[in-house]
């Protein structure tokens, strides 16, 4: 396990290094002056620009420039936004919290509903409910997320009025922005109307979470069902039956833990899908997160913001993938051998 983890971690570090190289190169590929793209200083005759030239090694070779770039990146000096001239790194923190909150809640909901439904469908194989669940999951999987979001807004927010149309919280509740995750911020704030604010935040939250979770949920249902069907045919299940174990014990101790293996392997991919959808969903629901920030920066040609958004989203996805792989290898030792073999 140690060897495997080390291998994965080294691969992860190499990947991050490649990513940093790519983001560095982006500054030169974007139109305009590379240093302006990097720092967000527009006036090239200003004193600040001269200082940046010195600090980032722009008077010497490309290697020095890369070293300067990495230095500033690690120190959290990611330049200023071209549009608003505010510090990108400071802006980033609350946005990251908001995105993470949305993503984690959606993933939790997908797991919470998807896995039991998949198990249920597998136990009822070829029954009417199995067909209904599988049919629904295939069609939900094909709905473009932006259309689904619009339909849900139309139905739940406009027709039924169960939730506000967009936004994170009613601005009347003056919640101090700390981590960006709205539920956490309300919890931390010391206001008399905390419960009311909490309910309001939940009312804003549930619709985007539902929209986001549907796609990973349907995929999880399918994966879980197929894995269950595979395991059900194995000999050790027959052996357990022959030993006269109770059905529930076979299900919970023998079938489900083994069937979860492909599910765990796919979790990283599902998270990637979720992050794709989060970019679009945040734009539609006007959620103050990384995705809407990134899209807005592309409209505005705000290059410092753009590269920060790309860097953070990509590293988050890569990190989650590595963590899932480590979890997978730790929980299921048979996988480790497979991956050690050259392929």
């Amino acid at each position: 396990m140690l060897r495997y983890s080390l291998r994965r971690l080294i691969l992860f570090i190499i990947t991050l290094w490649l990513l940093s190289l790519f983001v560095f190169a982006l500054n030169y590929w974007f139109p305009g002056d590379p240093l302006t793209n990097m720092t967000g200083i527009r006036d090239q005759s200003s004193y600040a620009y001269q200082q940046a030239v010195d600090a980032r090694g722009f008077d010497s070779g490309i290697l020095q420039q890369y070293v300067g770039f990495i230095d500033h990146l690690l120190a959290g000096q990611w330049g200023n936004s071209l549009a608003s001239q505010t510090d990108v790194f400071a802006q980033l923190q609350p946005l990251f919290g908001a995105t993470l909150e949305l993503g984690l809640l959606a993933m939790a909901l997908a797991l919470l509903l998807g896995l039991p439904l998949g198990i249920y469908a597998a136990l009822q194989q070829r029954g009417p409910l199995d067909r209904v669940i599988m049919g629904l999951s295939l069609s939900t999987y094909s709905i473009p997320v932006f259309w689904l979001a619009q339909l849900f807004i139309l139905l739940f927010a406009v027709k039924l009025g169960w939730s506000p149309i967009s936004g994170q919280i009613n601005p009347l509740y003056n919640i101090e922005l700390q981590s960006g995750s709205i539920l956490w911020d309300i919890w931390r704030s010391d206001m008399p109307y905390r419960p009311a604010a909490f309910i309001d935040a939940l009312a804003h939250l549930w619709l985007p979470v539902l929209v986001l979770s549907l796609m990973p949920m349907t995929m999880l249902i399918r994966i879980m069902r197929n894995a269950m069907l595979d395991v059900l045919q194995q000999n050790y299940i027959k052996a357990a039956r022959a030993r006269g174990l109770a059905d529930s014990r076979i299900l919970f101790r023998h079938i489900i833990p083994n069937a979860l293996q492909p599910v765990v392997r796919q979790l990283g991919l599902q998270f990637s899908v979720l992050m794709t959808n989060i970019i679009i969903t945040e734009v539609i629901f006007n959620w103050p997160g990384l995705g809407s920030w990134l899209v807005k920066s592309i409209y505005e040609r705000d290059y410092p913001v753009m590269q920060a958004g790309i860097l953070v989203l990509a590293s988050l996805i890569l990190l989650v993938n590595v963590l899932v792989e480590l979890l997978h290898a730790w929980r299921y030792p048979q996988v480790r051998k497979e991956q050690h073999a050259e392929h």
Partner: protein
Amino acid sequence: MPNTSIYYQHREPSPLRQLWLHITANPFAMVAFYIFAGIMVLMVLSPLVSPFSSETQFSDHVLQPPAWHAEGQIRFLFGTDDLGRDLLSRVLHGSVYSLGYPLLATLLAAVIGISIGAWAGMSQGVQSSTLNHLLDVLLSIPSLLLALVIIAILGPALHNVMIAITLVLIPQFIHSVHNAFYEERNKEYVVASKLNGCTRWYLLTRVIFPNITSVVVMQITFALSTAILDIAALGFLGLGVQAPAPEWGTMLARSLDQVYLSPWTMVLPGLALFLTVLSINVLGDSVRAAIQERIRNS
């Protein structure tokens, strides 16, 4: 009755033919196949069958509801949008952007990706394993994010979207073809052909390739649905096909402003998108089932 022909010879259907037999045996897959074929025909004939051009404006009929509504007119079967353009015509014309261009991008990516994947699948050692690791990493980043990055460099326009989507799809093809080749490479029939002295090129094109066509077909359906959704998503974000063009995602983005007053401007493009992607996904799903069955039987 048993076959009485003396010269009876058991013929194993080719992998592609097996795939087709499997699809025809499944009613859902057949329905999806006909829907997809219908959409393709409509796309090709869209200049002929659509009642108006996609940009004709009827200034007296702005935001006309669909024909079955009390205020609707049969002239505008599915109503008109906020500039008085006929929705049905726009959706029909839009199929070229939302299905035709993704199809083109997928085929282009398939040709490039399969060539690289085949070359990589035949090579071995460090070369192959490095490529595999790199591809694994690249594939874990969502295609839309990659496309967004490319659009950010090139700027939003139709041809840039095509470049971005093609580039994004290529690694997926390389990965699946590489793996398929890798699995076939050391099977007995390949070794036998090798011992017979077949050239590398013959081995590649005539011996191995026919046996991985089903994997390629599955990858094409998968890539096509990704391409359609990504182009529509980019259009929706305003970073893809630009506004007057009747691309489905762009139409949805435009309908966002008045969806509360005139929901029909949103339903038709979304439904077209949904039906197209659903039929492709059902087909891809049955191809996957066919491959699994073949592996289980062999």
